[in-house]
């Protein structure tokens, strides 16, 4: 079996890996790079638990081959905080109790960051449609939306 050699940037660090042609970015992150924060909930792009940013664009890492990562810059949940300082999306998820089991949380946080990067003041409807690809079975999304809006306000520099 021939493997592809891939060089890319993961959470700001230049990273090299060898991958099988049918390994996904999610497989590589979890199995080869030890980045298990991205989760596999479905393997078919329906749950969003594996959400990452590739060159700033939100994608499901289960729907991208590792080989395709050549030359890209990937941000995973492990790269959202600034060192030990939580990103406002992370701290607002905690403050607003926007997680119960926490399994969908990494994907939701990455997706929310992408939302607020693209749209600093989303309406509730815009936020809900943007996040429709991130399934959460525990919360009913209510507190997640509270956290999203609070994080948006914090990022806009408004006092929450």
């Amino acid at each position: 079996m021939s493997k592809t050699h891939v060089t890319c940037t993961v959470n700001g660090e230049e990273t090299e890996f060898l991958c099988d042609s049918n390994q996904t970015v999610l497989d590589v992150l979890r199995e080869d790079l030890g980045l298990t924060g991205s989760k596999e909930g479905c393997g078919s792009g329906d749950c969003g638990a594996c959400s990452v940013l590739v060159d700033g664009r939100l994608v499901c890492s289960c729907l991208m081959f590792g080989s395709e990562a050549e030359g890209t810059s990937i941000t995973t949940i492990e790269g959202i905080a600034d060192g030990e300082n939580l990103h406002p999306v992370q701290s607002q998820f905690l403050k607003h109790a926007a997680l119960q089991c926490g399994f969908c949380t990494p994907g939701l946080i990455v997706a929310t960051k992408a939302l607020l990067d693209a749209n600093p003041s989303p309406t509730d409807e815009e936020a809900r449609y943007w996040l429709a690809g991130n399934l959460c079975r525990c919360t009913g999304y209510d507190k997640i939306m509270n956290a999203v809006h609070a994080a948006a306000a914090e990022l806009r520099g408004e006092s929450a």
Binding site: S21, T24, G45, S51, C60, E68, A132
Partner: protein, 289 residues
Amino acid sequence: MYSPTYAAPTTVDEAVGLLANASGAARVLSGGTDLIIQMRSGRLRPEVIVDIKKIAGTIGIREEADGWHIGAATPGAEIGEHAGLCAAWPGVTEAVQLIGSTQVQGRASFAGNLCNASPAGDSVPGLVAAGALAVIVGKNGKRTVPVEDVPVSPGRTSLAADEFVYEFIIPKASGKTSDAYLRFIPRTEMDIAVVGCGITVTLDASGTCTAAKVCLGAVAPTILVLDDAAKILIGNKLDDATLAKLDAAAQAACKPIDDKRGTIEFRTKVAGVLARRVAAIAFERAAAR
């Protein structure tokens, strides 16, 4: 054990060569949101995967004299961010943004949606209604065909083994021309269309339709272009009688199946409902031009 070869050629010739010379089945990879799922489930096991995204022109949107050129693998999210194209063809661009989630939008493309050849592909009826052309490249060079000529049956296209879609050309909308696309799904997001409908209309100054193209998805083995429905619109304004005839024509054209996503009866009725609703939006947009 199954292990395909991955290749990311940088030129059309190289890609065509890989496709033409593949010993087993070869598959073109653009966004991968269908292909990877089909490979993971074991439904598809190509020997060679040809990733076309490194080829110049496969990603990006440019406005030229003959229309909008959209690279085959341009992700839906990028299409949705293109203000010019979205203003020109709101239906086409809204349709591609209905495919899957925001995450899927980050990858899914017109070409993948078309060449997956599902009758339910959301972006296809809108492209067809807009009169879009697919630019196909292969070992015999380049050919340009109407988008509706690409899918031939569920999962099959008219492309030869060495061919792939390089880009799409959507003509410039002239005068009072606009389009709309709606699909019906059980939820509000994340579902495959139970019925999809794309309509493009051109109106005269009085609001009378002078040209129309009506297209339905997910109600037959391939998308349907409804000439009868278009004829109902042409020469008429958007009145109740016209809408009722359109509804009936859309229902009459349906040849759907019963499956886990909808019954024959339901799909047929909803096709009529959507045709009316889509026509209303397209007329309103065209009138506002």
